[in-house]
Structure formats: C-alpha cells, structure tokens
C-alpha cells in the first residue's frame, strides 16, 4: 500500500477539523418533467446532504402568452382563453373577465344570472378543492383518497356538464350573464348531487382526518408565517391556513356574496393558525363544507325567485368604453385579478392577469430552505398550485 501523499493527509485533517466529512453543496433539479411535481414546475434545489439550503422555483415552461393573446381577441373569445390558465377553476376564471367588462360597460346583470353564477362558482370551488384533497395524499403516498375525491367530483361534474356542456372548460359565462338558461329539472339534480357529496364526504374525510401517517408527514412541516404570506402576496387557502383572515367573497363582495357572507348568511371564512401542511389541507377540507352550504343557499334562493332572463342582449360588436379597471375575485386557489385597459376597441388594449398560483409558488423560496428532501414533496403539494396558472 503506497504512502498517502502529504496533500491527501492535509485534506483529511482539514475535514476533521471542520467537524465531520467534507461536503459540497449539490444542485438538484426537480422537474420540469418529474413525477413528484404536477405539471412542469422546475425546482432548483441546493442541497447540503439531505437538507435543502436554497430552493428556486423556475417557471415558464408552460407559458402560452395568454395576456398577449387576449389583446387580439374580442371579449367572447377571451373567455375561451381565460378559463384555461387555471384549468381546475375555469368558471372562476371566466367570471373575472366578464365582471371586469360589465363594470366598464356599467352593465346590470339579471338577478337570476347573478345567483346562478354564484352557485356555479361555488360548485367549481368544490371541484377544485376535491382535486387537491385527492391529489395531495397521492403525493404523500396514499393512493386511496383520490378515488373517493374523484367519485364526488364526478357527481358534480355531471351537473356542470349538463348545464354548460363542458366538464372542465365550461364556457358558460357571457358578458351580461350566462350563455343560456339551465335545463328543466337541473336545480333538483344539483340538490341531489350536493346531498350525495355531503353524504359520502365522510368517506374521504375518514382517510384524511386523524390519519396517523398523513399527520406525521404534514404536522409542523413547511410552516408559513403570516409575515411571509403578506410579503409574497400569498392568498387563498394557503394564506388562511397561516392565519391571514382574508377572503374576497366577504371583504370585497361580488355577485351575491354580500348576502351569503352577510349577517345571517351561511358563508364563513375558514382559517387556521398553524400554517403547516396539515393546516392547509384542513382549510381545504372545511372550505368544501362551506361551499356546499353556499350552494344550498343559492338553490333555495333560485327556487323562490321570479322567472326572468339570464343574460342581456348584446350588440353585434361589443366595444368597451375607454378606461381601465381592476377586478379581483376569490378563486379556489386565491386572488384572481384582471386589470383591463380599454381604448374603446372591441379587443382590450391590455388585460393583465394576476393569478393566484403565481404568487403562491414563489413562497417556496422561503418555505423549502431548512427542510429535508423527503418533506419537499409534502410542502410542494400543500402549496396547491396549477402550473398553467403560474405560467399563464
């Protein structure tokens, strides 16, 4: 055996002096094509052993230039594109566009359309939340909950499809109301679907609430404090899980939410204080119950309402007067805002999209450092984002 060279001996001494093995930071790419990320979000992690030192979400792999495309589309064509960035909440996305245009036009929407829109938006919220309630355990290694989540999704999607014709991209909003009225007997079928989901939701909950493995993976993991939430403009269920009591449905009511979140309304804002992955999941689960309450209230209002139209007669060429407006709505994942600037043309001069997931995903820079790689998937999944909504 050859004698160790003086150089090697020196290296060993230094390493021992530094308190263990000499380590170098490793850069690990998670994604853009990785089974642990949904969609094409790429994370560049700098690792010190198993511990994450730095995390940087690299976005844009699914950028489709939606904002630029809006500028060469009229307001009906914009709905087609707008409902696609967050494909889990198409109805909510359409809603922001038409609300902005209606505000600029000073257009009054028929009351029936307002309540139908509110109900459909809440059904869409339940659909989006159920998706994450199913997919998040899947990322943690629990395969079963997704089947229960999708059984309920299917129930609600059936009524959405019956009214709008679409299962994901509803295309049901129009400037001034809805595309057409709902089919006969549809309200009864919505009621049946909501009751069925309510009846069977305990099945899904039994897999999630109090499950020891899920709790062990999520409690105290990825704690997000309120200050960081506010710095990064995080919104929606993630912000509320950290104790930030903000919900545009209550704080800046649109549609019929002023009544729903009013004095005797069924609406309430779900918050948690822990700010960890478990809290985020709990907020989602409880919001499903709240949204189902809201749907039931909408059904009772719609059932006792005078008959009337669901849309306004529009001119052949719809031009929005010169000016600008910003309309923000509470999408399932957080604030979804449209900043509409019009120069009096039939297309917007600029339509800026403020999507919830974009801000929510940025906070990973703060959330991930200090955690272990094994917790990375749990944290990543609990920030509930849709890559299309990030990249626009």
């Amino acid at each position: 055996m050859p004698e160790p060279t003086p150089d090697a001996a020196q290296t060993t001494t230094v390493a021992v002096g530094a308190g263990g093995l000499a380590t170098a930071d490793m850069v690990l790419n998670i994604g853009p094509q990785h089974p642990a990320t949904h969609g094409v979000l790429r994370l560049r992690l700098t690792l010190d052993g198993e511990r994450i030192v730095r995390a940087e979400p690299i976005i844009g792999y699914m950028h489709r230039g939606a904002e630029k495309l809006f500028e060469v589309r009229d307001y009906r064509q914009i709905i087609v594109l707008a409902n696609r960035h967050d494909w889990l909440s198409a109805f909510g996305n359409e809603l922001g566009v038409v609300l902005a245009v209606e505000e600029m036009l000073g257009m009054e929407v028929p009351e029936r359309a307002v309540w139908l829109r509110t109900m459909l938006a809440e059904l869409n919220r339940v659909l989006s939340h159920l998706m994450f309630l199913g997919s998040y355990p899947l990322e943690l290694g629990a395969i079963t909950p997704v089947f229960y989540a999708f059984r309920e999704r299917e129930e609600l999607q059936a009524v959405m499809e019956e009214a709008s014709g679409g299962r994901m991209h509803y295309m049901f909003n129009r400037v001034g109301g809805l595309k057409e009225d709902v089919p006969a007997g549809w309200l009864g079928r919505v009621d049946d679907a909501v009751q069925a989901v309510r009846r069977r939701l305990p099945d899904l909950e039994s897999m999630l609430v109090g499950n020891e493995i899920l709790t062990a993976r999520t409690r105290g993991v990825g704690v997000l404090d309120v200050a960081t939430v506010q710095q990064y403009g995080v919104s929606g269920p993630i912000a509320r899980a950290s104790g930030l009591d903000v919900d545009l449905r209550r704080d800046a009511p649109y549609l019929a939410y002023a009544e729903l979140f009013g004095e005797d309304g069924p609406g309430r804002v779900v918050t948690r204080t822990a700010g960890d992955c478990l809290a985020r999941l709990e907020v989602l689960l409880e919001q499903v119950h709240v949204s189902l309450d809201l749907v039931e209230h909408c059904l009772s209002v719609l059932g006792s309402m005078a008959s009337g139209p669901v849309n306004q007669r529009l001119p052949k060429v719809l031009k929005v007067p010169e000016g600008e407006t910003y309309v923000a709505t509470e999408n399932p994942l957080g604030f979804n805002g449209y900043y509409l600037v019009s120069r009096g043309d039939k297309t917007p001069w600029r339509l800026k999209l403020r999507s919830a997931s974009f801000n929510n995903v940025q906070v990973l820079t703060e959330l991930l450092p200090g955690t272990l790689v094994s917790d990375m998937v749990a944290i990543l999944g609990s920030t509930f984002f849709v890559v299309g909504d990030v990249d626009k």
Binding site: Q77, V80, M171, D181, V182, S206
Partner: protein, 186 residues
Amino acid sequence: MNDETKRNGPTNKGLLPGILKGLATTAKTATRTTHTHEYPDVAPDLPPRSRGVIALLEENCTSCMLCARECPDWCIYIDSHKETVPATTEGGRDRQRNVLDNFSIDFSLCMYCGICIEVCPFDALFWSPQFEYAETDIRDLLHDKERLGGWMETVPPPPALDERAAEPAEVAAANKPARMPRGRAT
C-alpha cells in the same frame, strides 16, 4: 372538534385508530356496488348539451364565413363559389347564390368553445355529444363537410329550459304585436 384538539388529537397509541378508520371505509365501500361504468361496453350517458363534436347541416350553410371569422383559433376552413340561378319568370332577374365547396373543421386545433355554433345565423352548426373520433394520425382530425354532416344524426334535441327561465327570443318575438304602419298609430 376545534382546531386545538384536532392538532393534539390522534397520537400513536399502537392501534393507529386513524388508519383503522380509513380501512373501515375501504371495507365498507368494498361491499357496495361499483359506481364506475365499463366504458367501451357501456356507453356513457351524456347530456344533450355535452360538447363532443360539431355537426354541420350543409343545407343551412350560406358560406357567410361568420363562424370562420369568430373562431378564436381559426380552425374552420371554408371555400365557396357563386353560381347564377337563371330567372324563373319571364323578365325576371338572374339570382346569384353561394355554393359551399369545402367546409372543414380541424379538431386538432378546435378548443371546443362553441362560438361558431353560437354565431351561426342560419343554424347550420350543432353540438353533438359524440366523442369517439380519436385518430392515430393527427391529419385525420380535419373533418371535411361530409364527415361533419355525418355527425348530424347524433345531434340530440335541446333540453327544455328551467321553468323560471325567460321565454325564448323566438316566442317573445312571435307574441309581440305587429308594428302598425306609420301614421296609424293608436
């Protein structure tokens, strides 16, 4: 259960009650009948408004190009030519009419928004819930007017509207009193 007790609630007591609860649900569900359909053998029950494929009623099309222009991604291709119809009466005037040569929709581009159907002033386009037209070659997704016409037989009648819906525009227009000639207004 409030936030605090849930947080400190289940702990590892050996029996793992939370996991047992989940297993109980699985056992209970295993005894129930399935809620899924064996798709290729059992056709799905789709509502009439379902947006599966676009059907063309060629007789109604005047090749006005409205659908092609309003399509957000321009996936409708229309070619037509003008034909002269000779006058049918003595001293009459020859008429011109459009003849549709080509009407194709590229379903590899189509975003299934339904704007073409909405803007068609002559009811030549319809939604059909039919969806089984996947192809192995993307070029075969360009449906020509014969293929689009073939979908017509799968178009269902539109569903009746909710009892509280406003009366359809056609009914409202028919019930409106006829406009009086000028000067004889009552």
